[in-house]
Symmetry: none
Subunit: 227 residues, 2 copies
């Protein structure tokens, strides 16, 4: 369940919009003044904050700064004024989005969803990687090239997985060894090379001139996204 902290001194707004939020099946906690926001923020666990700029006691800008010092929670700022200077200040102090009043409930909902989606993207683990015409599905334990399923061995799969989750970065043979053996067990230098050779034979158009798995001499191997 998504838990939203809604801070605005205008009770008409908090009432109507929190009803709207609830109808979209969000949990809502309303705070109508500036001073008790931080306190409330610390008390419960929230997924997102909607913060009016004009508040009695403490401004939304101050509150935003204070929260940013202790948390990365998504923050949407609300303001009655349409002057862009407010927007910029709001965004520059670390808010994630800005909506001017009067706002359309649907737009605010949309922005909430977009922000939550982005924030949670990075929490859940990725299970599908696409890399050029290569598609790797961890859940299915499958790799496709141009929609055709390839049959990779366990080690080949593990190596490709390691490379594809670190695109554009060199992965040393040591790290690749760890990935296939599970531990720092010593295996010969050419072991990884041989796996790479077999992997290239399966995924490269021309294994003699590999374009997907590049060798970085003296360092390791790298999956090159783009030039």
């Amino acid at each position: 369940m998504v838990n939203i902290l809604f801070v605005d001194d205008d009770i008409a707004i908090t009432d109507s919009f929190s009803a709207y939020l609830k109808s979209e099946s969000f949990y809502v906690t309303v705070v109508n003044d500036g001073v008790s926001v931080i306190e409330m923020f610390k008390k419960k666990e929230f997924d997102l904050i909607i913060l009016d700029i004009m508040l009695p006691g403490k401004t939304g800008i101050e509150i935003c700064k204070e929260i940013r010092d202790i948390s990365d929670i998504p923050i949407i700022m609300l303001t009655a004024k349409t002057e862009e200077i407010d927007k910029i200040v709001g965004l520059e102090i670390g808010a994630d989005d800005y909506v001017s009043k009067p706002f359309s409930p649907r737009e605010l909902i949309a922005r909430i969803k977009a922000l939550l989606r982005r924030a949670s993207k990075f929490n859940e683990e990725k299970s599908i990687y696409v890399f050029g015409d290569i598609e790797m599905n961890l859940k299915q334990y499958s790799v496709k090239k141009n929609r055709r399923t390839l049959s990779l061995t366990k080690s080949e799969f593990a190596i490709l997985h390691k490379l594809i989750e670190n695109p554009d970065q060199v992965v040393t043979r040591e790290k690749l060894m760890k990935v296939i053996t599970g531990f720092d067990k010593y295996i010969f230098d050419r072991t990884i090379d041989t796996h790479i050779k077999n992997l290239r034979k399966k995924i490269e158009d021309n294994p003699k001139k590999p374009v997907i798995i590049k060798t970085v001499r003296g360092v390791g191997y790298r999956l090159n996204k783009k030039i």
Copy 2:
């Protein structure tokens, strides 16, 4: 360096705003029609996309969906009318932010920064050195000049790394030797000279008249910040 793909069919807008983006030291790639966006997206590596909804060939909504199938890159949609935002939302196409035209450049910049900040939180920190048109990425183990990847050898990379992390300071041959051999193994003085020569051939516009790696006679080499 942040790399932005800007898609809009209105050349007046792409021209003026991409100039604005460049002044904020973003890299910008402009595409003026809908059909070649995906192609471009696959070709280079971008950090964020600004996508107009009304495009000839293919709508921004279609493009957004297609990109979402293969990537989590932050997307900002541009709409001519505010009502269109509802449409985007209703379709839940996966954009991260929405800005309606005409937009204020400062606001769009602010939104770009807010989105990048949130997106990059979750990417690992980058160890990147920028020096004029040279960009060195330690994690990727790559060096770019004017955004083209150069292929440096291990020693060349080590030398450039040492120089770039001590800009405006003379680095002796001895220290450079240590950097490439790991230890105080004795190698010829001329070895470093040769590496420097090869390095200059790769990174200098005119290797005969080096402006990046300067010789300090009798002492060593220096990376000059000022010309």
